[in-house]
């Protein structure tokens, strides 16, 4: 048995039990020291967020709503009563809810399969599942257009077209967010002790009842975290809706982009940014309220010991259906994408790939060969991951011990970048970080900083449930044996959350590679990232540009898959001691 929490306990002190020695213990430590430690841990993330998030966003909102030194709030009422914008708001909300529900419905069985079943090629499949998440939204949009749009695969085969319906958007959102659920929920699920469910079965609960009564409540925080992430992503969806939605469907983010980039209507964009911000705040409050009521210390075990080969027809059927879903929903669009990157004007070949290496000509889209975007992207993503892991790791460590309103507010603050328009953030960087002492416009670090902003919430959300599930008495045992608080963290928490940390780092790396909305504003012309390069190519007419975009996307996909596979490898090697 690992990490045993006692189940039968004749001699427990009632006083101790009532106050949950495992978790409550720290709360009763000398209060001053605990608070000081926590504040110290929060300092770095806090400064990071104030400088690189709150300040730029406040600046751009101020720029939109201030005129001649006074606030123009009349604009707010005007924008909010516009029926067109109300329609945008309504659509944004319901498509996000529908996308989230659909994603959970399709991906939760997948999370179970990845957590509990052992089968050949699992590591590869796990990486494959994560690839869509890191693709630039514009590429996903194009891939789905190629799949379900006019002249697409389904149109060719059966004359089915979905690009005029909302289904194309919803399916693309599932494609995108499948990994969020599988990784966030599956990560915790794989560490849950199956014997808890067995105990419920022995006590007379049916298979489903045992799952619902024992496993589901334990998973609830992770499910809620995943659902919130999916909802925020789809609520602020940009590239996909822009391409698949056509003129009929627009989310707030798309509208903000239109108002900013197309009409230069900063006041309207500022109001919409605030509306989106308010909606996200509401969601986060709801999330915090539900999670606070459900989180509990869990019994975690070595993940490698909970997975086994499927047994019986039911389990094989579940595995098979999951594989079919992955094949149709996740792999097929990618295959179409790859196929297109090779489909040159004179049959299949490497035409587009060769074009990528060509030095920039006078009429070229770029001042550098497009392929250099690959190295830019990798370097940016590594730096962004490092920042996100440090900032997010510190934040998660500070939040491990539940606290009062201050701590919960900090928790919510860390989630805000997911809900605030990336377009706004990128534009805000440009207009706010341009004066000494913070003149970063020419700095290489501007891009990784913006990308890390989106990575931090992932790190926090992935690590926090696992950190909180670590049995507090293990920390106490270490302290009694002479470990300082820092040593306790290094010796007890870190080894138990190493897996979560790697998953978090993988996510941060992935979102940094795929980040588009902010990067497109701040990446300098001679240092484009892959998504920016793809978007620029797509924005130009001509088969060569489209083909090059597909080829570049394929390269990005391969890079991501490679990086993620390496991550899986690292993890497997270490499970021995975990």
């Amino acid at each position: 048995m690992v990490l045993a929490r006692r189940e039968v306990d004749p001699g427990a002190d009632r006083g101790g039990e009532r106050f949950r020695p495992g978790r409550g213990a720290d709360a009763r430590r000398p209060a001053g020291r605990a608070t000081a430690t926590r504040l110290a841990l929060m300092a770095v993330p806090f400064v990071f967020f104030v400088l690189f998030f709150a300040y730029p966003v406040a600046m751009i909102v101020g720029r939109g709503l201030r005129e001649g030194g006074s606030w123009q709030f009349g604009q707010v009422g005007e924008v909010l009563t516009d029926p067109d914008l109300l329609h945008v708001l309504w659509f944004t909300g319901w498509q996000a809810a529908a996308s989230t529900a659909l994603t959970l419905l399709i991906a939760l069985p997948g999370a179970y399969v990845f957590a509990r079943f052992e089968f050949p090629g699992k590591g590869l499949l796990r990486a494959v599942v994560t690839v869509p998440f890191v693709l630039p939204t514009v590429v996903v949009g194009s891939a789905f257009l190629a799949l379900v749009g006019r002249g697409g695969l389904l149109d060719d085969l059966w004359g089915v077209r979905l690009d005029t319906s909302v289904w194309a958007i919803l399916l693309a959102h599932v494609f995108f967010n499948y990994a969020v659920v599988v990784r966030t929920v599956g990560g915790l699920w794989s560490a849950l002790d199956p014997r808890q469910e067995e105990a419920a079965r022995v006590l007379g609960a049916g298979r489903f009842a045992a799952w619902r009564r024992v496993t589901l409540p334990a998973l609830a925080p992770a499910v809620a975290a995943a659902a919130l992430m999916v909802f925020l992503f789809t609520f602020t969806s940009f590239g996909i809706v822009q391409i698949l939605g056509g003129p009929r469907f627009a989310t707030l983010e798309v509208e903000i982009y239109r108002q900013t980039a197309d009409f230069l209507d900063l006041p309207t964009a500022a109001v919409l940014t605030l509306v989106q911000f308010a909606a996200v705040l509401g969601l986060l409050a709801l999330h915090a309220w539900t999670v606070r009521r459900r989180e509990s210390a869990l019994k975690l075990v070595d993940a490698s010991r909970t997975a086994r080969r499927p047994r019986g027809a039911g389990q094989w059927a579940l595995l098979a259906s999951t594989l079919v879903v992955i094949a149709v929903l996740l792999v097929l669009p990618l295959v179409v994408l790859v196929e297109r990157s090779f489909a040159g004007p004179d049959g299949h070949g490497l035409v587009f790939y060769r074009a990528l290496q060509a030095a920039a000509g006078a009429d070229s889209t770029f001042t550098v060969p497009p392929l250099t975007a690959l190295w830019n992207s990798l370097a940016y993503a590594v730096a962004a991951t490092a920042i996100a892991v440090v900032v997010g790791g510190l934040a998660a460590a500070a939040l491990t011990r539940r606290g009062g309103r201050l701590v919960r507010g900090f928790d919510a603050l860390l989630m805000l970048p997911l809900g605030v328009s990336a377009v706004t953030v990128g534009f805000g960087f440009l207009i706010s970080l341009d004066e000494p002492p913070l003149d970063l416009r020419a700095s290489w670090w501007l891009v990784p900083l913006a990308q890390a902003l989106v990575g931090v919430p992932f790190v926090v959300r992935t690590m926090l449930p696992v950190l909180r599930a670590v049995d507090g008495r293990l920390r106490e045992a270490a302290a009694v044996l002479g470990a300082t608080p820092w040593q306790v963290w290094r010796e007890v928490d870190l080894p138990l959350v190493r897996r979560a940390l790697l998953i978090a780092a993988g996510f941060a790396f992935a979102v940094s590679l795929g980040e588009f909305g902010a990067t497109v504003f701040i990446a300098s012309p001679d240092r484009p990232t892959l998504p920016v390069a793809v978007a620029r190519l797509l924005g130009r007419a001509g088969e060569l540009n489209y083909g090059q975009a597909m080829a570049l996307s394929t390269i990005l996909m391969v890079v991501c898959a490679g990086a993620l596979l390496a991550l899986e490898r690292v993890r497997t090697d270490r499970t021995g001691e975990f």
Binding site: P10, R29, R473, V480
Partner: protein, 350 residues
């Protein structure tokens, strides 16, 4: 640590109080533990004994009172600098480390050299009867083996005071009895000062030089196991030790008036109202008309003796112990006579 302590106790608790809301888990507890002494705190669930250990370890803040170890007040000393050992109730071995990693943990935290760690680990594993177990995963250990590893881990940094929380709580009976003997020998050899808490009187009596009985956060009685066993301080302690033959009584001369009739009391007992405990061994079976007439209500074979539940015509039921050969059957009518040596006078009221 310089030897600045005088002849005072190694551990001194003075007025220790911990409140959880309105409930006092510890209520002005005073306790001294001398060097090399093994003290066992005995009490039912909720009596505050685990809280006591947590306060001494610094895992729980006391609302009032002091913990003085080796002449040093520990009020401002954080857990990791207190130099005490605590063996948790369910061991709390680190799942990600093997046996050696667990045992060496405290040494590593103190920056001990690797060779020193390895030497000490090997020595301790020998001591607890698990030689060569260094590389085993803690998940593969049986309950008893985990117990031994937890003990070795607590002993490794040579704590001034070793605390054990229900040390044998989860083990089966045979193993417990063996381990109690081993622990006793071990603590004697090492000269360790031990403070253990348990709800099991057998464990406490076998392990301890001195037993402290706790009730609702207060100390009800301290004494050697024999003293506590022979002279429970009050009805609570008596009942907690398993003695249920307690009745109200009024002492006059050499006997007391009880619901069971006249019961002889030891010489020199003060006259007046009191409670009276008759140990089961002090209830002797005689022919029905020679003593208190009773019906045998139940009979339980205990290995060395038979314990009987007797139902008298008047007064509460009473427990008796007798040899197997002499044991009556259920339903038989017998007489009960009382032996003064096994009668204990307890304070009235309470």
């Amino acid at each position: 640590m310089t030897d600045d302590r005088t002849d005072g106790p190694l551990l001194r608790l003075a007025g220790l109080t911990v409140r959880f809301g309105a409930h006092a888990a510890l209520d002005t507890v005073d306790l001294d533990v001398a060097e090399h002494e093994t003290v066992c705190v005995l009490g039912p669930s909720g009596s505050g004994k685990s809280t006591l250990l947590r306060v001494i370890a610094g895992l729980q803040q006391a609302d009032a009172g002091e913990v003085v170890l080796d002449g040093r007040n520990l009020r401002t000393v954080p857990t990791h600098r207190r130099g005490v050992g605590l063996m948790f109730q369910d061991h709390q071995l680190f799942p990600q480390r093997d046996v050696a990693g667990n045992v060496a943990f405290g040494l590593r935290m103190r920056g001990a050299a690797r060779a020193e760690q390895e030497r000490k680990v090997a020595e301790l594993l020998d001591l607890v009867g698990l030689p060569g177990a260094q590389r085993r995963a803690v998940g593969s250990l049986s309950g008893g083996e985990q117990q031994r590893v937890a003990l070795a881990r607590a002993l490794a940094p040579s704590p001034r005071l070793l605390m054990l929380d229900e040390p044998l709580g989860q083990l089966d009976r045979g193993l417990r009895e063996r381990l109690v003997v081993e622990l006793r020998r071990l603590f004697g050899e090492l000269g360790t000062t031990v403070l253990a808490v348990t709800h099991d009187q057998g464990e406490a009596f076998a392990l301890a030089d001195r037993v402290v009985v706790m009730r609702d956060g207060r100390i009800a009685q301290t004494g050697t196991p024999l003293e506590v066993w022979q002279r429970p301080a009050d009805e609570f302690v008596a009942r907690f030790l398993g003695f249920d033959n307690v009745v109200p009584a009024t002492v006059t001369g050499e006997a007391a008036d009880t619901p069971w009739g006249k019961v002889p009391v030891p010489d020199g007992t003060a006259e007046g109202a009191c409670r009276l405990l008759v140990r089961p061994a002090g209830v002797r079976l005689v022919p029905a008309r020679e003593g208190l007439p009773c019906t045998v209500a139940a009979r339980t074979f205990r290995g060395t003796h038979v314990s009987l539940r007797l139902r008298p015509a008047a007064g509460p039921e009473l427990d008796a112990a007798c040899a197997l050969a002499a044991a009556p059957e259920v339903g038989e009518r017998v007489g009960a006579a009382f032996v003064a040596e096994d009668v204990v006078v307890l304070p009235a009221g309470n």
